[in-house]
Symmetry: C2
Subunit: 101 residues, 2 copies
């Protein structure tokens, strides 16, 4: 069964950040992608997502509202909602390169 | 009636960001403060907050889950939950100075 695409909604963007809400209907995925920027994820609709890395390794992430996590630029994966309820998070990307040193 | 203090919970911090969840029980406030860093707010429990600036001017902010907003370093205010239900947001502070130019 083909997965539906996750839906990005840009909330705001300026020189420093790009903030996007990602909505994952049931049985949806982002598709494989590589993150250009360091980023922070803030869950807003709780649930479980599956992250599949470039080697096909699966990691399950239980998203809870009120939490947050961060990842580095270069993170490369697909993000899938295999469940039967929607899941959503707000992603804050740091557009500026990391300070040297 | 004295207001209770809003409750900060640090979720993560690294060289680039400090991420804090702010929980506002009913009739609570942060107290006056000045933001050291540019920041993004991601609501996680919806509701209305009152922002009181240094001149005492009141602004009401309706926080909706799935949205986000940003403010600059130097923002100076008190944030109050005057309602009878909890409100909460996750604050992502950008610790690095803005890129020049």
């Amino acid at each position: 069964m083909a997965l539906a695409p996750a839906q990005p909604t840009e909330l705001l963007e300026n020189d420093r950040v790009r903030v996007t809400r990602w909505d994952f209907p049931p049985n949806s995925e982002t598709g494989h992608h590589v993150h250009d920027y360091d980023y922070v994820v803030v869950p807003v609709v709780p649930g479980r997502l599956v992250l599949v890395d470039d080697q096909g390794k699966r990691n399950e992430a239980e998203l809870t509202v009120g939490g947050a996590y961060n990842r580095d630029a270069g993170t490369s994966h697909n993000v899938i909602n295999e469940g039967d309820a929607p899941v959503a998070f707000v992603e804050v990307e740091l557009k500026e390169p990391r300070a040297k040193g």
